[in-house]
Amino acid sequence: MQISRSTRIRKAKGGGWNWVPLIPFLAITVAVMILPIAFMLEGSFKNGDGLFTLENYAQMAAPLYTQSFRNSILLSGITAIFGTLLGTAVGYFTYRLQSTRIRELVITLCDVTSNFSGAPLAFAFIVVLGSNGVLTLALSQYFGWKIYPAFSIYSFWGLVLAYTYFQLPLMVLLVLPAVAGLKQEWREAARSLGADSRTYWRYIGLPILAPAILANLLLLFANAFGAYATAYTLTGSRFNLVTLQLGSLLTGEVLRDPGAGDAMGILTLLLMGLTISLYQLAARRARRWRQ
C-alpha cells in the first residue's frame, strides 16, 4: 500500500525518492503487524474448506464467547473505574502536597510501581492474599476474619485487586499534568465572584478535568483488556477472559476451531481500536487547556 503511494507521489512531484529510506521500517511494520492482522481478518471469514462464511462470527454468540467478552469487559471496566476514581483523588492530593520532596517521592514510586505487572505482580498477590498469604493469615489470627473461601485471589475479585494495582499508579501519573493545568487564577476568580469550593469544582474544576479523566479511563480500560500475564499466572486458563481464551487456543490446551479464534481476535481488535480512537479524541480535547 505504501509502495504504490510512494510511486504515485514520485510521478506527481518528483520527490518520491525521499520515501526510499522509509522502506525498512515500513517493510517490518507490514510484515509483522499489518499482514498478520490481514490474514486473521481473512481467516475469520473462512470455514474449514476455505470458503467464505459468516459462521465464525455467528459462533461468537455462543455462551462460551459471550461470557469471555462479558468477563473481560467487566474486569477492565471495573478496574478502570477504580483506577480512575482513586487515582484522580490520589493525584490531586499529591499535587496539593506542601512538600515537594514527598510529591517527588510519590511520583517516583508511581513510576516504578507502574512497571510492576505481569507474573511477578501476580505472584506478589499470592504471597499477600493467597490462601496462606500474609494478609490472609494476619486477618484470621488477629481479627478472626477468615476471608477464604468467600474471597479468593484466584477469582474475579482477586483479579480486580491485582489489576487495580497496576492501574492506580498509572492513573496518578496520567492525571497529574491535567491537575497541574488547573490554574490558580481560575480558582481565585471563581472565589472573588462568590463561588465556594463545591461550586468551583462543579462548574469549573471538573468540567475542565473531564476530558482528561475520560481519556485516561479509556486508556486504563484498554490496558486491562489486553492484559494476559497477570490473569494467566493467577488463574491459569480456568477463568474465562478473552485473552486467556485466545492464549489457550494458541498453546493448544483446548482444541477448537481456528476460524473462531480469528473472529475473536478481530472482535478484540475492533473493541481496542474503538477504545484507543475515543481516547485520542478525548486526549486532544484535554490538551486544549494545557497551552
Partner: protein
C-alpha cells in the same frame, strides 16, 4: 477545612501501603524460612536464592532474556532513529503516517499479535513464527510507541534542519551527520526509550511464551513455572525481576532529568508522553 487536610494525607498513606505491601511481602518471603503458618516469618535464609542460582536453568533463562531484550533494543533503535530523523527532516508529509503506525500497537494486545504471527508464519517446516528472531521482530513492533515517542520529542526539541545544514555545509555526509551531529543531541531520548524497551521486554511473558515457548525459555517463563511448583524459588525470581524493573525505572528517571536539563523541555510533558507510551505492554 481541617477535615479536608486530613483526607489528603490519609489517602496518600493508604495508597502507599497498597503499593508497598505486595512488594515488601515478596522481598521478605524470598528470605523467609517459612512464612505460610504464622504472621511473622520463621527465621531468615538465603537458601531459596542459592537453590535458584544453582539450578542450571537460571543462567540459561537469564541469558536468553538479556539476549532477546538487548537484540530488540538494538534492532528497534537502528530501525527507528534513522527513519524518525529522515521523516522529521525531509518528509514531514509522512509524519501523520509514522504517528499512526506508532500508535497502532496500543490497540493490539500481545495475545492477538501472537495469534496473527502464528497464523501467518507458523506453517511450513521452518516454523518462522516460533523462532527467537521472530520474537525480536514482534517485540520491535510491540514496543514501537515506547521507542518512537521519546525519540520524536527529542528530535522536535532541537533544530535538526539547521544542525543538518550546518553539518553538510561543512562537508559531512548523511551517515556522518546522523551519527556525529544528530545522535549526540537526541541521545537522552534514545536512552530513555531504549531502557524502557529493555525493561519491558525483560519482564514480558505473553509474546515469549505464546511464540517460542519452551524452545527458548525466558526469565518470566521460568518465574511462572515456579509459581506453580515452588513458591520460594518463585519469590527469588520475582525479587530479581522487581529489582531489574526498579533499577531501570530509576535510571530512566535519571536520564529524563539529565535530558531535560540539556534540551530544556518541560519535564512533566516529557514524562507524560513516555508514560502514555508505556501503556499496553508488560501486563
Amino acid at each position: 477545612m481541617k477535615q479536608r487536610s486530613l483526607v489528603g494525607p490519609l489517602s496518600i498513606i493508604l495508597f502507599l501501603a497498597y503499593m508497598f505491601l505486595p512488594i515488601l511481602a515478596t522481598y521478605v518471603f524470598s528470605i523467609a524460612i517459612r512464612w505460610d503458618r504464622s504472621i511473622l516469618p520463621e527465621g531468615l535464609t538465603f537458601d531459596w536464592y542459592r537453590t535458584a542460582f544453582q539450578d542450571r536453568w537460571f543462567l540459561i533463562v537469564f541469558k536468553h532474556s538479556i539476549t532477546i531484550s538487548a537484540a530488540s533494543v538494538l534492532v528497534s533503535a537502528l530501525l527507528i532513529v534513522p527513519t524518525a530523523y529522515w521523516v522529521h527532516l525531509k518528509l514531514p508529509r509522512a509524519l501523520p503516517l509514522l504517528n499512526l503506525i506508532s500508535t497502532l500497537p496500543f490497540a493490539i494486545p500481545a495475545v492477538v499479535l501472537a495469534l496473527g504471527l502464528i497464523k501467518l508464519y507458523g506453517q511450513g517446516p521452518l516454523q518462522l513464527a516460533r523462532t527467537p528472531a521472530m520474537l525480536v521482530l514482534a517485540y520491535v513492533i510491540f514496543t514501537l510507541p515506547f521507542m518512537y515517542r521519546p525519540i520524536a520529542s527529542s528530535l522536535e526539541a532541537i533544530d535538526i534542519q539547521r544542525l543538518t545544514e550546518a553539518a553538510q555545509s561543512l562537508g559531512a555526509s548523511w551517515p556522518r551527520t546522523l551519527v556525529q551531529v544528530i545522535l549526540p543531541n537526541i541521545l537522552p531520548g534514545i536512552l530513555s526509550g531504549g531502557l524502557l524497551v529493555f525493561a519491558t521486554i525483560f519482564g514480558e511473558f505473553t509474546l515469549a511464551t505464546l511464540l517460542v515457548g519452551a524452545r527458548y525459555k525466558t526469565f518470566p517463563m521460568q518465574l511462572v513455572y515456579y509459581t506453580r511448583r515452588d513458591g520460594r524459588i518463585a519469590s527469588a525470581y520475582s525479587v530479581i525481576s522487581f529489582t531489574v524493573a526498579w533499577a531501570t525505572s530509576l535510571v530512566i528517571l535519571w536520564v529524563a532529568t539529565w535530558g531535560t536539563r540539556r534540551s530544556a523541555g518541560p519535564r512533566t510533558a516529557q514524562d507524560l508522553t513516555r508514560k502514555q507510551a508505556s501503556v499496553g505492554g508488560k501486563v
